[in-house]
């Protein structure tokens, strides 16, 4: 509850005070007071409203203490506004403003991610530093610089116009998906922290879906994350090793997440405004439908990859499509497709190639491809799986 209310309160206070540092500090104050008082007094009727009002008063007090003349003007206005209840529609607008400001294209991607987690997500600086495996002072500096740029370059606190909305929304969705993938990447960093990142990304995804229900790609991203997350517990063996989709225990997939993700995918299909996230979600929905790997509707998956390639062509998408083609037309057809892709630096390219060669009985070439793949990744779980596959050839 703290994190959710944190983002809402910061969003409202940034609008009122026009300054992120003032807003953050005041919200921090309000939470400290809540922790002190609530155990004795019990929860107030509206905890969220209490936090916002208390934070607003804390900020006014602070400005009064440090007050310059201009601030006193602002104070008069604010004190006037201080009694207004935080109206729900206005709070939602503020949350959207905050999200778009944190993900402004003039900020570097790493700064967008850090700011979004800090201000919208309510994570602490040490938590974000741990999640991204950077020293805490580095993360603190990254956040401070980003906030200084927002202030000094006057990045507006505003939801973009209709003409910019789609481009800007893409940046927001990319930030959320990046947080999710950072959490999903196996076996680097603290596992608990990583699981929390996925949960946080999904929470941000839900918030966006709630704030922008008319945007199909917002829904697509949420569905994609839910469907991928549903397989999390089966993706790692007890010894920490990576378990591929075909070998996962499907009885342990999270049916609740799958049902939610599939319902959103169906909604997107009815709307028929496809985009990359929606199509990736649909591909994952097809996997979720198969009770065992052999029952997978690979033709449907190839068709979805064709659609994805048409609107978002990339060699990595083509590589994934080839994996599906191997299941429909056989490994030889897939091998012919991937050899032209020019993905020599990508470990999965070599891993997939090795697998296709193995299925074609070309063991010596397969072993060499596994060797090459091993030189392209440092991830322990991935390396382990590649080594096991190579050993199995002998």
């Amino acid at each position: 509850m703290f994190r959710e209310e944190h983002g809402r309160a910061v969003a409202v206070l940034v609008r009122l005070f026009g300054d992120i540092d003032v807003a953050e500090e005041a919200v921090q104050d309000a939470f400290t007071k809540a922790v002190e008082r609530w155990p004795a007094t019990g929860l107030p009727p509206s905890p969220a409203g209490w936090i916002i009002t208390t934070a607003r008063n804390a900020a006014i007090d602070r400005l009064r203490r440090e007050g310059s003349r201009e601030d006193r003007h602002a104070q008069a206005d604010l004190e006037h506004a201080a009694d207004e209840p935080a109206e729900e529609g206005a709070v939602r607008d503020d949350q959207l403003r905050l999200i778009f400001t944190c993900c402004h294209p003039s900020l570097a991607s790493a700064a967008q991610v850090a700011l979004t987690l800090r201000l919208v997500g309510g994570l602490t600086t040490p938590e974000i530093a741990r999640a991204f495996l950077v020293p805490e002072p580095t993360m603190a500096q990254r956040l401070a610089r980003a906030k200084a740029k927002i202030r000094d370059a006057r990045i507006p606190y505003r939801v973009p116009d209709a003409s910019d909305l789609h481009v800007r929304l893409r940046a927001v969705l990319a930030v959320v998906y990046l947080v999710f993938n950072e959490g999903y990447a196996a076996s680097s960093g603290d596992r608990l922290v990583r699981e929390e990142l996925c949960a946080e990304a999904i929470r941000l995804g839900r918030l966006l879906a709630d704030l922008m229900p008319a945007e199909p790609e917002v829904l697509g991203l949420l569905a994609l994350m839910l469907l991928v997350e549903s397989r999390r517990s089966t993706r790692t063996a007890p010894d920490g090793g990576l378990v591929l989709l075909a070998d996962q225990d499907r009885n342990r997939w999270d049916r609740r997440l799958i049902a939610e993700g599939q319902a959103i995918v169906r909604l997107c299909l009815r709307r028929n405004e496809p985009g990359p996230y929606q199509i990736q979600a649909a591909i994952n929905a097809v996997h979720s439908d198969a009770l065992d790997a052999a029952a997978t509707d690979w033709r449907q998956i190839v068709a979805l990859y064709d659609q994805l390639l048409a609107i978002a062509p990339s060699p990595v998408v083509a590589l994934n499509r080839a994996v599906a083609v191997a299941e429909v037309e056989g490994p030889a057809a897939a091998l012919a497709l991937i050899d032209a892709l020019g993905l020599d630096g990508y470990y999965l390219f070599h891993a997939i190639r090795a697998d296709l060669l193995r299925r074609l009985g070309r063991d010596a070439e397969a072993a060499r491809a596994y060797e090459t793949a091993l030189t392209r990744t440092n991830n322990m779980a991935e390396r382990d799986l590649l080594r096991r596959r190579r050993e199995a050839l002998r």
């Binding site: 003039s106 006057r154 505003r158 973009p160």
Partner: protein, 124 residues
């Protein structure tokens, strides 16, 4: 309102053809007319190449001149425009139009607000 410096980032290399330059001059003129009409233009200028630059620095109380730019780079400041805009998004929208006219990267950088000259420029 806030002042922003729009800098034209010019690569070192041979001068483009006269036809190309004529088109750029024309497009820049159209852009300048538009931004002046909108009241956002403050000042602009195009610069001679870095080879025409002289650097002055104080050395033990004495001014020492050196030929050429302060740092040799692959890129240099080819020209600039100072504009006023309500926020960064508005400044970026002008920069986008400028980059379309000049076909070179445009760096957008905010002025510090404190200087008296900046306030005067904003009030004009």
């Amino acid at each position: 309102m806030k002042l922003y410096l729009l800098t034209v980032v010019e690569p070192v290399g041979p001068r483009p053809s006269p036809e190309f330059l004529a088109k750029v001059m024309h497009d820049v003129e159209v852009f300048r007319t538009e931004i002046k009409a909108a009241g956002a233009w403050v000042f602009n200028g195009a610069l001679h190449p870095p080879s025409t630059a002289t650097v002055v620095r104080m050395n033990d109380g004495e001014a020492v001149m050196t030929d050429g730019p302060f740092a040799e780079g692959k890129e240099h400041v080819g020209g600039f425009m100072i504009i006023k805009a309500p926020d960064l998004d508005a400044a970026l929208a002008w920069a986008k139009k400028m980059a379309k006219a000049i076909p070179l990267p445009i760096e957008v950088r905010p002025f510090r607000d404190e200087a008296a000259e900046v306030r005067v420029a904003l009030e004009r």
